[in-house]
Symmetry: C2
Subunit: 761 residues, 2 copies
């Protein structure tokens, strides 16, 4: 018999039918009695003092029910942790990016609210604008926040080992500057919020949120409402990719307008607002120096990072910390110096975007290894194999590698893509590139960080699961249902996941950093085991054995060593519920052991995450020498996410993440004019990859069975975001011999590089 009956299977999503048929309800679908419609007024200037706001004309417009400005949020500063709170919900005295919200309106109809926005007179005094880190750091640059000298918002730096000494001992040292651009996130459902407040002040907030807990805490903290008086309910969510943890302007305005009008207020953004004014990936200017022994062993690294973070901090401190951390993973680097600064600019806030800073760190590192290997005439794949971390290894900065299947992963992708064969017999303009990456399995931040779940068993043997996570498309509802089904020995269809509900339901710090499978998953398993243990006591009494002798499988409970001795699952359930009159609930919560919180401005990562996932990826591409256009042909990944809970879903994540990064690698870029006004804030002007841009995928699952995750799982989902860009960069070099160091590698850029190269020859 197989070890698992449900876990690890390629099962279709439990939310598939509802989403495919259009019967899933999203935030904008919601209607509440007496509901008003809200709209946000945005600054046309990227940097300006607000001298005065006159709302009187707007207030007099028939149908307008309330107008609010920054004055409605006196003294409130929010941020992802209290020590990093640098932002009012909407601007008060000054705007710092074009599109920053300065006022909001609630009216009976959306078009009345829209009209009212035009009637609000805002008197601005324009200030000089800096739209990128270079401008922001230049001498004499205008200060965006008075307290931030040189516009440096936060820094993170450390050194492990003796870096200078180590470089001296190297056989080869190479340094390189790499640049990555600003990109938008591109989820399909725009931000939406629907707030209602009853006469006793209780708030019901229904929105499109990735982590209801985060929004819940921010609203309570900012508006000084007790936690038990705010209820977060998530309808279905149309993608998030780290962009829906917060949208403070929207969230706070919806609640404040509801408080003022005593009516429900719904605000739904347009896709253009989202693309133009909300979270983006940091642009990064990376200087990286690597030193190796002649056999390719990595010895020392030095990195300086300047990250353009936009007008406020967001999760910036975490971002630059993670960038530095992932210079140490997945390759052994005993000596590393890291200095990073996140810089304020007059652009929208940068934050986490699918795969976070790991994406850029791993891009830089795998690109650099390819450069070094090529310089040295080595096969980069061999060099990677030589330097991968080993199971049980602890890095100088405290990273504990519980399990790692990267070596096997590299070998699989080499085999899968035909690495040695193709390298030996090169086809013109075709190239292979390889890269390796890693991801955390969630992380511990300030505040409450555990996950929790509740399993309810009904008299007919069916189960409802409520968990604190959020199904944002990643498939967690399916995976958690599988976990419950496996623990109780029932089929997947007997488990249904209930609604996310931050009020009477469940703590869970949120869906980020590949956190959900391990953290929420462990809580789900604990809840299911709690139910099983209650049933086992009853079944054991019925069968005259000890509870620990029982196995739950195939809707049966049987004695392990005497499988003929068994009971139908349903009989045990009925005996439990009718016979004893019990209510069968199981509760579980989980957080990794330890209470220390990581300091993001220093390098130690001992307590960051329970485990790390790994990936190797090789791609085959073809460059059109006439145009410089890259065509993706094949992608092979070797993915170690412990024991995959559902390979179909992990494949979906690998391919989705990889394709997402084809966009950043080849053509995406958010642009501003010199005044800081967005130039391409719409899907008409901003190209994202489609299925037409995808290669053929082959994914190998390297099963490592991590001891800390449920059923051996590690975080799954974002690994392949870390490798695609470097794999393409390296493949372009392999194909046509040009090294592009600034993404996106547009056809134009490659064409120009080819031209340059030809000119030089």
């Amino acid at each position: 018999m197989e070890e698992y009956s449900v876990i690890g299977k390629r099962l279709p999503r439990v939310d598939g039918v509802v989403k495919i048929t259009g019967s899933a309800t999203y935030a904008d679908d919601l209607i509440l009695p007496g509901m008003l419609h809200g709209k946000l007024l945005r600054s046309p200037y990227a940097h300006a003092k607000i001298l005065n706001i006159d709302t009187s004309k707007a207030e007099r417009l028939p149908g307008v029910r309330a107008v609010i400005t920054g004055k409605d949020f006196p003294g409130i500063q929010v941020g992802f942790m209290r020590k990093y709170a640098d932002r009012a919900p909407i601007a008060i005295d000054k705007v710092r990016y074009c599109g920053e919200v300065v006022a909001a309106v609630a009216a009976t109809e959306p078009d009345i609210a829209e009209e009212a926005l035009d009637l609000i007179d805002v008197e601005y005094e324009e200030l000089p604008v800096v739209i990128n880190a270079e401008q922001a750091l230049a001498e004499g640059a205008p200060l965006i926040h008075d307290y931030a000298k040189n516009n440096i918002a936060v820094s993170s730096q450390w050194e492990y080992g003796d870096v200078d000494k180590a470089f001296k001992e190297c056989d080869y040292v190479r340094e390189q500057r790499l640049f990555t651009q600003r990109v938008t996130i591109g989820f399909i459902e725009p931000h939406a919020a629907l707030a209602s407040v009853d006469a006793s002040g209780r708030v019901l907030f229904q929105g499109s949120k990735q982590s209801p807990y985060i929004t819940w805490r921010h609203l309570c903290w900012g508006l000084d409402i007790p936690l038990n008086k705010v209820r977060l309910v998530n309808p279905y969510v149309g993608g998030a990719f780290s962009g829906k943890h917060d949208a403070h302007d929207l969230d706070f305005c919806a609640v404040k307008l509801a408080q003022k009008t005593r009516k429900p207020v719904k605000i739904v953004l347009t896709q253009d607002e989202v693309i133009g004014f909300y979270r983006q990936r940091h642009a990064k200017d990376i200087w990286l120096k690597l030193g190796v022994k002649k056999d390719g062993t990595l010895v020392a690294g030095d990195c300086k990072l300047i990250a353009d973070g936009g007008a406020y901090l967001g999760v910036g401190p975490l971002n630059i910390f993670l960038f530095g951390l992932f210079l140490n993973i997945p390759f052994r680097l005993p000596n590393l110096r890291y200095e990073s600064h996140r810089v304020y600019t007059n652009t929208p806030i940068c934050g986490a975007v699918r795969g976070q800073a790991q994406v850029i760190a791993c891009y830089a590192f795998s690109t650099m290894m390819d450069i070094v290997a090529n310089d040295m005439g080595m096969d980069v794949a061999d060099m990677m194999l030589k330097n991968t971390l080993k199971p049980g290894e602890v890095t100088p900065n405290g990273v504990q590698i519980t399990t790692i299947g990267l070596e096997e992963g590299i070998k699989k992708v080499m085999q899968g893509i035909g690495w040695k064969k193709q390298k030996a017999k090169k086809v013109p303009n075709r190239g292979l590139g390889i890269a390796c990456g890693s991801q955390i399995s969630g992380l511990r931040m300030g505040g409450h960080f555990a996950s929790s779940a509740l399993v309810k068993l009904s008299e007919d043997g069916t189960v409802n699961l409520v968990h604190g996570g959020t199904e944002i498309g990643q498939g967690c509802d399916t995976v958690f249902s599988q976990m419950v089904a496996e623990v109780l020995g029932i089929p997947l269809e007997d488990v249904i996941v209930g609604a996310e509900d931050g009020y009477d339901t469940f703590f869970d710090s949120g869906m980020f950093g590949d956190r959900c499978t391990v953290w929420t998953g462990n809580a789900v398993v604990a809840a299911a085991e709690d139910v099983r243990s209650q049933l086992a006591d009853i079944a054991a009494e019925m069968l005259g054995v000890k509870p620990e002798e029982l196995v739950f499988r195939d809707r049966k409970v049987y004695v392990k060593d005497d499988p003929e001795k068994s009971l139908p699952f349903l009989r045990v359930v009925r005996n439990a519920q009718y016979g004893k009159g019990n209510c069968i609930y199981g509760h579980g919560s989980w957080a990794p052991p330890g209470v220390e919180v990581v300091d993001f401005e220093k390098g130690d990562a001992s307590n960051l995450t329970p485990s790390y996932s790994f990936v190797a990826q090789a791609v085959e591409i073809e460059v059109d020498p006439e145009t410089g256009k890259v065509k993706m042909l094949n992608s092979v990944t070797g993915d170690d996410s412990g024991q995959p809970m559902n390979e179909l879903l992990v494949d979906g994540q690998i391919e989705g993440g990889a394709v997402h990064m084809i966009g950043q690698g080849l053509f995406e870029q958010s642009l501003w004019d010199e005044k800081g006004r967005p130039l391409n804030p719409s899907f008409m002007d901003y190209k994202m990859p489609t299925a037409m841009d995808s290669p053929k995928f082959t994914n190998y699952h390297i099963i490592t069975n991590d001891p800390r995750g449920p059923f051996g799982a590690k975080g799954a989902g974002e690994t392949a975001t870390t490798t695609m860009m470097a794999a393409i960069t390296n493949a372009v070099y392999d194909a046509v011999g040009v090294r592009i160091t600034k993404v996106p590698m547009t056809a134009e850029k490659i064409y120009m590089a080819l031209k340059d190269k030809k000119g030089k020859r």
Copy 2:
């Protein structure tokens, strides 16, 4: 220091502000995207065969989305227990009362649905009608259900002691026939249901329900849907009084129409539909014979009951069982014979109505005691005092009296109303009447019968409580919040009750029979104690003591014998949640011990309920001799509901229940014409009591501290429904010397009786 800091206080309702200001959301307020409106087509005949239903014209009406008939519910029979299921959700081949639903429509607008009803052609074949029990039992009467001989739906009979022998030993024996009428319930919010079904078949049902669990099970059972696929959500409920356990026609039609249209369907009844066609109190024809010793000691009783139950069973078996049971309580009656039959008639279904059958049983018994006492020249109050059951007593039919404060209650009301003084010095046309009654504290029926609750503690020390009960106006959310606050030593305002939610939330067989304080309350206390115990472990470690030494009070945790040694509650909470990374939830479930279910057709009540509440009530009235009109002057009650959780709320229940029964005692009556068509189905034609009809109330709380309830509580709420009618009857006799044996005691009836009496003199 007082024993309790929150329990027992006269605290205002936690839902008061929201309800008073109109910000509470009721079922009819709800809107879902794409929602359709449903209407029900009702039979104009009280008894007829359905020969054919042609829906084609209705289906063609623009805006109509679906039409359903009984054929959409093939083979489905529902009822309050499976063995008593005698009813299809809507009529199939035959209608059995006027107003029975034969078809339903869903359309884009309510008036289109209404118009569509007119386009449905139903071909009926009229059958002869019986509109009361007498007609139904008459020889040759038409059979309403083929299998029910003489239209007898169910019978319940038993004998304890040797009744014939006991009567022979009595000094005085008297028999009397009493009649009680059909009345409607009179809740202010009509029945409403909003059903939606997603593409995977999951049902969300939001309605005005008293016991979501009951509706949940009925829908799953009838429509063959697994229990985990139906979610019941209750918005605020505008009264129920036992009338909102089920409304099968409405509930099933809403879900079926939603299944057919794949759109949400809302059906809201008119108040006229509710009054004309939904649950009513059984009309009862009671023959009661009592035998006493010359000192007034009760020796033997014999009772025959015919109950007119309408066209289907409903909770009829329970009703006639409870009537018989309450001939044994609250007075000691060692020998009792009981024979009862519930009869089908062509009228709407009778069920439980505020106070259930206890109301009528206690009315009959206290009236009879007054008759006997008057016959014997005794003071009925003294006779009642002599016969009350004692704490610890077990009656012949197995009733265990855990606590009883009735003797003290009788003494208090005698004192409060000035019984002996006024009896001695009679004022013309004024009279005093006294009556005693009792209620159960919930009861065990078939199926799952436990209660459950969940307490969630947030980082700021505030609490959310979710319980399986329903706030239907009785104040349970307030009482449960008090319980949680008391257990955790925090103020009431720190506790908020979450939404009722039968899906991802909570088992609880429902709100009936004064069940909630004891059953759900015990579960709530267990949940709060679970939280306290988790906190106590942490606080004990912080204080270096044992957990059992700690007291939680006034937002502090302190050592019992050394109160200086203390911690703020919030510090313990934060240490628990941040320090250990825990999620603090407490879970509790409760059912009384034992697994046997009562057989309602036999008399043993050993396992029925954990405890009994008691009440004595005296009223002072004045009869206008010119018109016969009764004016209520004073009411004094002595109520034993154990330890009252909140005297303000118990007062509200006492007064509400008592005033409710002034209606049935003095003027309410549902009427039909000879064809079974309702004559007064509207609040224009059906008079219910208002504040203008109320006496001045004085309520004494007799505190008995029951061992089985939370904090010594017993069921509270319906006691005074059991006494008002007999008290008035007895007072009328005391005032003007006429004994009215048929309620309502309208002015006309009393006037005629006075005229008769004068004629006789």
